[in-house]
């Protein structure tokens, strides 16, 4: 009997992570990009004009957005070489499990980049990010779910075009905006020590976008890969 949707998704996610663990190309590119971005913003920053508390959330979420795109680009790129995607398409599994598996692997990828980049931002900008670790982790997880939900779908759509590397950011970035704004606003309020009620509003917004994006993208995915 063929595996369930979740079972097949976990097989695909495990396969993608094994490939990335062995090649490490996308992860090292994303981490290098994130750290370089943090350093460049640091040296371009005038602390007398903008406080670290105001700048750090924007830097953090700007860096995550673009670093995440590097991983998303590779998500379906590994399937194109030698048409390995046909192994998945030819298997008796629901198409949605392919999307879900890719999204799980992308989530792990983005989370791993976050784990390295958040301490780097705390270090360079001397902001108390780690003091709010649990709340920040909640924002980061919710934002990562939204980013990979949209990015995984557009990665599948863009990969078959000749302009995949350009098309993915062009398609994805407008849909990233509703995720990045609440994430950055929630982080800014967290660092400013604002009341929990102000942050929860942004978290609710993130949850709402996550539900909409995950459901819509999973439903749309089979149509992007059918010939």
């Amino acid at each position: 009997m063929a595996p369930s949707t979740l079972g097949a998704a976990l097989l695909i996610a495990r396969k993608d992570l094994a490939i990335e663990f062995r090649t490490r190309t996308a992860f090292f590119s994303a981490v290098t990009f994130a750290l370089l971005g943090i350093v460049i913003f640091f040296f371009a920053w005038d602390p007398t004009a903008v406080s670290a508390m105001d700048l750090a959330p924007g830097v953090l979420w700007g860096i995550f957005t673009f670093a995440g795109l590097l991983g998303l680009q590779r998500s379906f790129g590994v399937e194109q070489a030698d048409r390995a995607i046909d192994t998945l398409l030819g298997a008796p599994i629901p198409r949605e499990s392919i999307y879900l598996g890719k999204a799980i692997a992308n989530f792990v990828f983005v989370a791993a980049v976050q784990v390295l980049a958040i301490p780097a931002v705390a270090l360079f900008y001397n902001v108390p990010l780690l003091e709010h670790a649990v709340a920040l982790a909640t924002i980061a997880v919710l934002a990562a779910i939204g980013l990979v939900a949209v990015g995984t779908l557009f990665s599948a759509m863009a990969v078959n075009t000749h302009l995949a590397e350009m098309l993915l950011p062009v398609l994805s970035l407008p849909f990233f905006v509703p995720i990045v704004i609440p994430a950055a606003q929630g982080t800014a309020r967290l660092l400013a020590g604002r009341p929990a009620g102000e942050i929860i509003g942004w978290l609710k917004l993130l949850v709402a976008f996550d539900i909409v994006f995950v459901a819509a993208c999973m439903l749309a995915f089979p149509f992007t890969i059918e010939e």
Binding site: M1, A2, P3, A8, L11, K15, A18, I19, R22, T23, V78, A81, D82, R83, A84, D86, T87, L88, L89, G90, A91, P92, I93, P94, E226, E227
Partner: protein
């Protein structure tokens, strides 16, 4: 043209099957009928529509004309159809960073096989690859990769095997191992459609032979003891001169 099945159970039937890509007709009016244990060797020049026909039979491409049924499932089918098919395309369909065993095992697991590791091991042994099973596929030669591809496509003992240029890149021992494996599959009742440019190898396995040209079946016949050299003459005449 139509071939009648040699076995009572019809496993592949199509009626006027066709596929258009925009205004271009890639495959048109293909009518087939193959039974359990039948093997159709499909020949034709590049661009004749052979791969498109195979992808439709595999459930990977939606037909735009006609109808068909494979393993009791109406095309384009779904998970049930895909579970009954082993598909070998002219690309390896393998992950280069994974080992041969991991590639075959992944397919076995996706097809819901209980003992995927053992099944993968046996499939690689059948293709005479056990000592290279833990080597990443990207480090294997083209011929070795092709053996892994065949092991991957047949690990789940499919009812129907669709093969697109399976002899490409194989040395003599690889071709012999593949031929023997396909003959065993056929004897066990597996229905096969074999697309190849290598007419003697194709005819050695075939119960039916067809020549495809410009998206349509230009000639189709049934038999067992084929004369490869006279068939090659017919093929060249049909493909080159259209006669």
């Amino acid at each position: 043209m139509t071939a009648t099945p040699s076995a009572s159970e019809r496993v592949i039937t199509t009626h006027g099957l066709g596929r258009r890509f925009g205004g271009r007709r890639a495959v048109s009016d293909v009518t087939l009928s193959l039974g359990a244990g039948d093997c159709l060797a499909l020949f034709g020049p590049n661009g004749a529509g052979k791969t498109t026909l195979l992808r439709m039979l595999a459930g990977l491409l939606r037909p735009t004309e006609g109808s068909g049924e494979v393993a009791g499932v109406v095309l384009p089918g779904g998970a049930t159809l895909r579970g009954a098919i082993g598909y070998i395309s002219h690309a390896s369909m393998l992950y280069g960073a994974l080992s041969a065993r991991e590639n075959v095992e992944l397919t076995a697991k996706l097809f819901g096989m209980r003992n995927a590791r053992e099944a993968a091991k046996h499939a690689l042994e059948r293709m005479e690859l056990p000592d290279r099973s833990d080597t990443p596929v990207r480090l294997l030669s083209r011929g070795m990769q092709q053996r892994v591809t065949i092991a991957r496509a047949t690990v789940h003992s499919p009812r129907v095997v669709l093969l697109d240029e399976p002899f490409t890149g194989l040395d003599d021992s690889g071709s012999a191992a593949l031929g023997a494996h396909l003959a065993t599959l056929r004897a066990s009742g597996t229905t096969m459609v074999l697309v190849t440019h290598q007419i003697p190898e194709g005819l050695a396995l075939a119960t039916h032979a067809a020549i495809m040209r410009d998206g349509a079946l230009a000639r189709m016949e049934e038999g067992e003891a084929w004369d490869a050299s006279s068939y090659l003459t017919v093929y060249r005449g049909l493909v080159t001169h259209g006669a």
